[in-house]
């Protein structure tokens, strides 16, 4: 009995040693885990399928919508100038709601409040296209998310969820993405989980997808019930991940296997 107690204690200690956060100097984008072919696909704007959604986003940006009969461009003019660096600050604190909102939610808030139009469905082509257009303007910009002091408690909640073991496999995000990012899972690289390129084109999805889609897929992977799109828990997790990647360069639209 005492023997087993010692093992348990040793395992607990090992766990405590392992669950260390990645030092800033060792942080790596998912890009650095990819094959040269996939990197080349992301780097070439005419081979990167994510750029198709940017084109769609440019068309939607100019389309008049809702009871206000206004287009995004009527207030924000050319997205290339007005949206530069914006995505690198999201999720951001929304005063009216008193909690953080991600880029998709911000676009939908603009639609309901300013354009007086119905919100776009999550993961629909139109919302992805507009989000991608905005995110594209921050390519190469360093991530600043989380610098707002009002976000502190929400980042803490997101971090708690990142560390929390859950699901039938009883795994937390940190068990893979903090502790084992230098290893492989079923032949695929386990990355550090820095959301530098969202929305991004996943070859597996054969489509562009949001960070929330990725997080939900990870949750099903550990056999845990996934939060609904737009759930505060998912936004807090996005917020923690973006603040964890603070200072890294934005890549949207990235390509991932």
């Amino acid at each position: 009995m005492r023997f087993f107690g010692t093992i348990a204690a040793a395992l607990l200690m090992a766990d405590a040693v392992h669950a260390a956060e990645i030092p800033p100097a060792e942080r790596r984008s998912g890009y650095s885990f990819m094959k040269p072919e996939t990197r080349a696909m992301q780097d070439d704007d005419t081979a990167n399928p994510g750029m198709l959604w940017v084109l769609d986003g440019e068309a939607l940006w100019k389309r008049k919508q809702g009871a206000a009969d206004k287009a995004c461009a009527d207030c924000h003019d050319n997205a290339r100038n007005s949206m530069k660096g914006v995505a690198a600050r999201y999720p951001a604190f929304d005063k009216a709601l008193g909690r953080p909102v991600d880029l998709e939610q911000r676009i939908n808030l603009c639609r309901t409040n300013r354009q007086q139009a119905t919100p776009l469905p999550f993961e629909g082509r139109e919302l992805l296209a507009l989000t991608n257009l905005v995110a594209r303007q921050s390519q190469g910009v360093a991530i600043e998310t989380g610098s707002d002091p009002q976000l502190v408690p929400f980042i803490a909640k997101g971090r708690e969820l990142f560390m929390q073991r859950q699901g039938q496999l009883n795994l937390g995000c940190a068990n893979c993405h903090d502790d084992n990012w230098d290893k492989r899972l079923a032949g695929s690289a386990i990355t550090q989980g820095h959301p530098t390129g969202y929305p991004l084109y996943r070859l597996e999805w054969q489509s562009l997808g949001s960070l929330q889609r990725r997080l939900r897929a990870c949750m099903s992977g550990i056999r845990a019930p996934a939060y609904d799109y737009g759930a505060p828990e998912l936004v807090e997790l996005e917020l923690y991940l973006m603040s964890r990647a603070g200072g890294m360069s934005m890549e949207a639209p990235a390509v991932r296997p």
Binding site: A47, A59, L203, Q206
Partner: protein, 106 residues
């Protein structure tokens, strides 16, 4: 919403070999997948792609269900004169899209 991305060099020297890259937005639904209800998701793919230069066909290919969504097609050609490339994608459910790009040859 259908978007295409075309990459043709704006300028080239006579006799140069140039690469043409095209990316077309399309779901390329194979026709082999089933919905939760058991019904087959009907096939919806691009079936053919062609490129004409100043009216003469220089490249043509057929596409099949195994080709991934948003097909990326690239090929090489030798340029002999200035002119216009015309691209055409044809597919299921009456899908038909065109795009053009110009090149000046010195």
């Amino acid at each position: 919403m259908t978007s295409a991305l075309i990459n043709v060099p704006a300028k080239a020297k006579r006799g140069d070999i140039i690469e043409i890259k095209t990316l077309m937005s399309h779901i390329m639904e194979t026709g082999y997948r089933h919905m939760a209800s058991g019904e087959v998701v009907p096939r919806d793919i691009i079936t053919s792609f062609a490129c004409r230069f100043n009216g003469t066909e220089i490249f043509r290919t057929d596409l099949f269900p195994a080709i991934a969504a948003n097909p990326f097609i690239s090929f090489f050609t030798t340029v002999t004169e200035s002119g216009k490339f015309e691209f055409e994608w044809i597919g299921d459910r009456g899908f038909s899209e065109t795009a053009t790009a110009s090149i000046s040859v010195e």
